[in-house]
């Protein structure tokens, strides 16, 4: 397995290579699956861990996601986006489903929302070394949002909460939550929309 640096740097790799790998996976090439894993497992695992906050569960999700890739790579529609976007969707969906299925679901409370503000900030020099330029750009863009917009977006994306649930937990009107998410995403599109090759 490639080390973390190799995997993270692969995030910015052009989607054309990923498409070739996915075609290989669809044809039953396990080496292609291995390369796909080496390229993206770090980002996908970080995503699953962010959602579930449990290392073992995050690994289970990643395993399920790649088994799913192995089984359904042939159904990937190349016209609808890049492979990494598809991988992110598979991983996030499974992580959110698992989060929602917990009997005692961890509520994303105010303290969790405050924790969400830490997203995108490398915690250690070692961690910083693993961060790609694309990741830095995304984190900087998120950090530049007003805190209330950033919290609402992260509660939805990482916490798997609906707008109604976010409004309840933040004790804010539903319309306010909608506006925060909408304005935050519009701003993110302005900041990140033009970063062609770094987009998943």
């Amino acid at each position: 397995m490639a080390d973390g640096q190799e995997r993270v740097s692969a995030v910015s790799t052009d989607g054309a290579d990923d498409r070739a790998l996915l075609r290989g996976v669809a044809a039953g090439d396990k080496e292609a699956l291995r390369q796909l894993y080496d390229r993206h497992s770090a980002v996908l695992f970080a995503l699953a861990l962010k959602v579930l906050t449990d290392h073992a569960e995050a690994e289970d999700v990643l395993q399920e996601a790649f088994v799913q890739v192995w089984k359904t790579a042939g159904s990937f529609d190349e016209g609808r986006g890049k492979p990494l976007g598809w991988l992110i969707m598979l991983t996030r969906s499974r992580a959110i489903d698992r989060l929602r299925s917990r009997k005692t679901r961890t509520r994303v409370t105010e303290s969790a929302a405050k924790d969400a503000l830490q997203t995108g900030e490398a915690r250690t020099p070692a961690d910083e070394a693993l961060v790609s330029e694309g990741q830095r750009a995304v984190r900087a863009a998120l950090k530049s949002l007003p805190p209330e917009q950033r919290v609402a977006i992260e509660m939805a994306y990482f916490g798997g909460l609906t707008q109604f649930e976010i409004a309840q937990q933040l004790s804010q009107p539903l319309g306010t939550v909608k506006t925060r998410i909408r304005n935050g995403m519009i701003r993110l599109r302005e900041l990140l929309g033009g970063k062609g090759d770094q987009r998943p």
């Binding site: 497992s41 690994e59 395993q63 088994v67 299925s101 990741q135």
Partner: protein
């Protein structure tokens, strides 16, 4: 749903924030308008996917891929694929079958056992994963169902409370409405009374105004009379005023008159008594003439008597005269004439 609404909801959709009817309507709109929506959806989806990059960096266990590879292999073996090659490897030529069996049975048994164990382990893991997934889905649905039941119960109790509150407010509003209706009736009655009083006052004011107008008219008449009397009094009191008495020149009647003439003021008046009545509206009038020396008579005013033959009217010379030696009075056509046409009925004594 309009495309504008689609654009409003799109940022919420890509981060998974939409729910309920909004989510249903949004996805139905996309399905029905795929060509129109696909580019915008892909653009925002790409932005949402980048949010994943903001998660703090983390590494999975080094052996995770081995687990994935094992799960993949287990999945392959579950499919109707050929059995594992090692147990089906054909025997090599030149070895007697019995000896081969004797030599290979322990190893073959061990290999088959190993393969079976691996297969069973993989299948068990896969089945466990599937079972876990199914259990998770069931728990998820159960959790959602409980949440919805709780929400419905909460909604029901809130509706009931709102209904009670609404009923109480409605009753208070009814009571207040009745009170206000009473107040309104009282105000209407008071307003009608005030309106009647106002009409009475207006009518009284009209009457007073008419009285004042009449009084003003009478005052004007009296003022005119008073001015005339004051003027006459001034005339009579002025020492320069001459008084000339006139009588019937023929001596046939008791008609007399006095002419008061002030040459300095060029004003005067004549008072007639016992004259044969010459009343206004009968086509005739008395006309006064002033005579200077042998000059022609100059018109000096006209007037009428009452039915008892009394008259008083001012002297008004038609033109300036050098002197006035005497006055004459004739009966002329109504309105007067420039020169006497009738015989004098009054003249100097």
């Amino acid at each position: 749903m309009t495309h504008e609404a689609f654009r409003e909801m799109l940022p919420l959709y890509v981060v998974g924030a939409l729910d309920g009817d909004e989510l249903h309507n949004f996805e139905r709109y996309i399905a029905e308008n795929r060509e129109r929506c696909i580019a915008e959806l892909a653009e925002y989806q790409a932005v949402a996917d980048q949010i994943a990059m903001a998660a703090p960096s983390a590494k999975p266990s080094p052996n995770l891929y081995d687990r994935i590879a094992a799960a993949v292999d287990a999945g392959k073996r579950l499919a109707p694929a050929p059995a594992a090659a090692p147990v089906r490897r054909p025997a090599r030529a030149g070895f007697p079958l019995g000896a081969l069996i004797v030599r290979l049975v322990p190893w073959a048994a061990a290999a088959v056992l190993a393969v079976v164990v691996v297969n069973l382990s993989g299948e068990l893991r896969d089945v466990t994963h599937q079972l876990q997934t199914t259990t998770d889905s069931y728990n998820n649905l159960l959790g959602k169902s409980k949440d919805q039941q709780g929400s419905l119960a909460d909604l029901g109790s809130r509706l009931e409370a709102q209904n009670r509150d609404f009923g109480e407010k409605l009753e208070r509003l009814r009571t207040r409405n009745i009170e206000q209706q009473h107040d309104l009736d009282a105000m209407r009655a008071a307003n009608k009374q005030l309106s009647d009083e106002k009409d009475g006052l207006l009518r009284a004011a009209d009457r007073m105004r008419e009285q004042i107008d009449q009084q003003n008219l009478q005052t004007a008449v009296l003022q005119k009379k008073m001015d005339e009397e004051t003027s006459s009094l001034d005339l009579f009191m002025d020492p320069a005023t001459r008084v000339m008495a006139l009588v019937d020149p023929k001596g046939e009647s008791k008609a007399v008159a006095k002419v008061y003439w002030n040459g300095g003021r060029k004003t005067g008046c004549m008072v007639v008594s016992n004259c044969t009545p010459v009343q206004q509206g009968q086509g005739k009038c008395l006309e006064l003439w002033a005579v200077c020396g042998n000059g022609p008579p100059v018109a000096a005013g006209i007037g009428w008597t009452d039915n008892s033959g009394h008259a008083a009217f001012p002297v008004k010379l038609a033109k300036d005269v050098a002197c006035i030696d005497k006055f004459l009075v004739t009966v002329e056509r109504a309105g007067g004439v420039p020169a006497p046409e009738g015989t004098p009925v009054l003249g100097p004594q």
